[in-house]
Symmetry: none
Subunit: 229 residues, 2 copies
Amino acid sequence: MTAKTVLIVDDEASIREMIAVALEMADYRVLEADNAQTAHAMVVDDQPDLLLLDWMMPGTSGIELARRLKRDTATAELPIILLTAKSEEDNKIQGLEAGADDYITKPFSPRELVARLKAVLRRATPTGVEDTVEIDGLRLDPVSHRVSANGEALDVGPTEYRLLQFFMTHQERAYTRSQLLDQVWGGNVYVEERTVDVHIRRLRKALGDDHQHLIQTVRGTGYRFSTKE
Amino acid sequence: MTAKTVLIVDDEASIREMIAVALEMADYRVLEADNAQTAHAMVVDDQPDLLLLDWMMPGTSGIELARRLKRDTATAELPIILLTAKSEEDNKIQGLEAGADDYITKPFSPRELVARLKAVLRRATPTGVEDTVEIDGLRLDPVSHRVSANGEALDVGPTEYRLLQFFMTHQERAYTRSQLLDQVWGGNVYVEERTVDVHIRRLRKALGDDHQHLIQTVRGTGYRFSTKE
DNA sequence: CGCGATTGTCACGAAGCTGTCACATTAGCG
DNA sequence: CGCTAATGTGACAGCTTCGTGACAATCGCG
């Protein structure tokens, strides 16, 4: 999973700092801006995944920025959480009307912040619907997160599961170790290429004698999933 | 009674907006999607109580989505109201055949929409009584709010009860801790994910040796309720 | 207010998973 | 047939995830 980027907009550096530390501990990438003008530019340039926006700021207020961003189709999808100093219920309504996805009143615990932020991001990025794949009696069901061979459950580790899922949805095509690392491990990990071999072996072992022929070695290149030959 | 959640699916933001405002005034929770793909994912993840579906959309059409949802047992119960631009009677027939519960032609007044929607929901949840579920000798009765195993009463705390109820009505599907927090604890609470683990353990303990195998750990992902294996 | 039940969090240990290495085996080639 | 590069395989240390008991805070109720 790639780290999400959060843009913090607040005119008080100390507050930004506090939030930034909390977010970095929770493995988010953090950007900062101290006014609406800069913030707008950064939203466009850096495309953060979420905006933490202070309500009260000199010049263009936070809510004004929120409204502007929601109006522009290019940025309308960006989830926004508004921060505000006091529990002013009136503002809350205005804030939500402006298109904010959540609303946190200061003071708040870093933990609460992170939790709310997770919730908003979770809702913003709906997980795609994946269909069950069945090939040659081998079945992978993403909904129940299970693998079975001719009805019998197979014990497959997390990485082997992802590897198999990738293969089953990309049959009949040879992949290099490097491509597999990109697709299955995720782009920016650094792992030895030979590691792929080890997981291929673990997967073959898990598949058992009946199905390991599906994972084929393409000498000098990599591996392929295929029912043929 | 908790607010009902309505998922609006339409590719035009202005229409969604109009409907959303009307529904929020009538105290419904509103979710939105602008294409069938996202909508499908949200139905699965967020489990809305009703689907407001536009007939014409780019890509997979609304009616196609309706058909798919009605075919899948997990989502077959979800009431669907189809929206359509003109009073095309042919479509109406097709729509009802696809499993839609009602059918509204644009333009419509917000009041009409809310009224129809209420009617459909009323029909869908008969007197608000949920059925008792019994699986593998384990029985959960929402009326008496009790759990029993092979006739013998089990001592289950409130949270464990809700957790079990959710699981028993959503078998064979792996859920992340995050999803469980959304579904069982409610969307906007902030709780540590590991808390789920603790309640899972309490539930397992309460179920006793005979039934705790029903709650399965999906390593690296979350948990699943299943009778198999 | 006082009491038991419930809840969320933590710390710790167990269990499982991961990446890497060293060495065995194999395929391909002249 | 012998050589070399590529791949298979078993072992293992380090790390992550999960289960579990304890505990303090809070809730519900008399």
